[in-house]
């Protein structure tokens, strides 16, 4: 299978844009990526696009809707939902098509306009849909299940409320440097700790908001890439997994877990990281920065351990030492993370790649991770939908 490269990236700023439809946002990101690569829409041979759950048929067929607004070239389009993992899974599948030589030029698009507040259930006439049952019978919307894992972490490993708040503070410093970020204010520890408790142990400023946003990434073979750019970014690895049996971490839409030790948690994260490192031929010590799905501070702490940046129980220390800040040993979320953008569900896996490419090209300005050569991006969603990508300069 041939080596692949990213030759163009684009993303919209994140925010709430009542005057912009899903199609408008997707098109904006696509045009920016096409311009970045010096291409026209008709050069794209395959499109993968995220599904949005909140916009009827336009949401389910987002890719088709966008294409029918910008150029009906008749190319194969797949619309894909793997909830918060979608962006990485769309990207992975576009890569599979291009690397198998079915196509030479593919685009992976993520776009969403997510309603504010707690996610409601995606309603259907079927009252037995498990996602609706947790509202009907347990009264627990997101982020309740991460919150349970976060409470257990405090018990098992001694994580404090202050530790959680520090993640937000750190990422807000990164977001302040990102012109695409929705939230560019630097939060103090006091502000975060004094914000109202929402879903124990998470306070308001510790739970990422929901936003409108889009991203697009153009993939082609490394051989062809050099025709278009002198800074092709190598796709060293892309892997996806789903929920694995016997995991102590409480997953959304589920009502139970097997009673295994807490250490048997986030098995899908551990597995996909390992598989991605293997495919790339590197280890966690080779990474220059990480973009991960930090919906809440718990994710950043727990994920940094299972992906091998430090031992279990040491993520708080890594944070306190400044290791995960830009300028530190292994910056996490140099973009500012989900907390600075708010989540536009299907877009996140793609906008992480945008950040990684900008960093690896040395174009991140004030956010630049010096000497960045290897970047790691990972998103995770409900039902264990997890995708991981390693990009190399």
């Amino acid at each position: 299978m041939r080596e692949l490269a990213i030759i163009g990236v684009g993303m919209t700023p994140f925010g709430i844009f009542p005057d912009k439809s899903l199609v408008d946002l997707g098109a904006d990101a696509i045009f920016e990526a096409l311009e970045d690569a010096g291409l026209d829409w008709k050069d794209i041979q395959i499109m993968g696009c995220s599904v949005s759950h909140w916009h009827g048929l336009s949401g389910l067929l987002a890719g088709n809707m966008i294409a029918s607004s910008i150029g009906e070239t008749g190319i194969p389009i797949f619309n894909c939902s793997n909830v918060c993992g979608t962006g990485a899974i769309v990207f992975n599948n576009v890569c599979a098509q291009v690397s198998s030589e079915n196509f030479d030029m593919g685009i992976a698009v993520g776009v969403d306009k997510v309603p504010g507040g707690f996610f409601p259930a995606v309603l259907s006439p079927d009252i037995k849909d498990y996602d609706a049952v947790r509202f009907h019978m347990v009264g627990m919307p997101n982020p309740g299940y991460w919150a349970m894992d976060a409470t257990r972490r405090m018990y098992d490993l001694g994580t404090t409320h202050e530790d959680y708040a520090r993640v937000k503070v750190k990422n807000s410093k990164h977001g302040a440097l990102n012109p695409k970020a929705r939230y560019r204010k630097i939060y103090t520890l006091e502000e975060v700790m004094n914000s109202p408790m929402v879903t124990y142990p998470f306070r308001l400023f510790e739970i990422c908001a929901t936003s409108d946003g889009a991203g697009a990434v153009i993939v082609c073979s490394m051989e062809k890439a050099r025709k278009y750019t002198n800074k092709p970014i190598k796709i060293a690895a892309t892997r996806t997994v789903t929920r694995m049996f016997g995991d102590a971490a409480m997953g959304g839409t589920f009502f139970s877990t097997q009673a295994v030790p807490s250490s048997e948690s986030l098995k899908e994260w551990t597995a996909v990281s390992k598989a991605t490192y293997e495919q790339a031929g590197i280890g966690p010590e080779d990474l220059d920065f990480v973009e991960l799905a930090e919906n809440t501070p718990w994710q950043e702490l727990a994920y940094s351990e299972v992906m091998g940046l430090c031992k279990v129980g040491e993520a708080e220390k890594l944070l306190r030492e400044g290791a995960t800040q830009i300028g530190g040993r292994i910056p996490i979320c140099p973009s500012g993370g989900f907390s600075s953008f708010g989540e536009a569900t299907g877009a996140m896996g793609i906008t992480q790649l945008y950040e990684a490419v900008v960093q690896l090209r040395g174009q991140a300005g004030a956010r630049q991770v010096k000497g960045a050569k290897v970047g790691y991006c990972q998103v995770q969603g409900n039902l264990g939908n997890t995708g991981c990508t390693i990009l190399v300069k």
């Binding site: 409601p120 019978m137 919307p141």
Partner: protein
Amino acid sequence: MTNSKGTKKRSIPAVEGFFTWPSEKPQLIASRCTACRRYYFPKVIRCTNPDCGRAVEEALLSTKGILWSYTAQHFMPPPPYHPPDNNPKEWTPYGVALVELPEGIRVIGMVTRCEIKDLKIGMPMEMIVERMYQDEHGNDVLTWKFMPAKA
């Protein structure tokens, strides 16, 4: 007691099939693998342990366990959640428990008869069936909840 239709007031699970009802001592309805004896809640089609994958049978879960973890909902959830008195203005925060049962499974459920501040990992909990809210006909709509176990 009668409901608004003038018929006898009913007590009905919000969704059928999660616990035995009607019952003096309702229990959660699970699957148990006929080979490896693992439990699953709610029911599954077959054992989802990839090292096993054998047939499952229905089994009822114990009602007493230990609090493994919890969260607390401080803001009212959106639909299809129903506030208990059908009045969002009178809604109050509640805990949600993750309770480890003797069958080797941990189950979530709303917390009842316990202040959020009194939830402590390791405390004994007990499952009961209680009203979630009253529907438009005056019937009690039920769910399973966890309360501190009686000594």
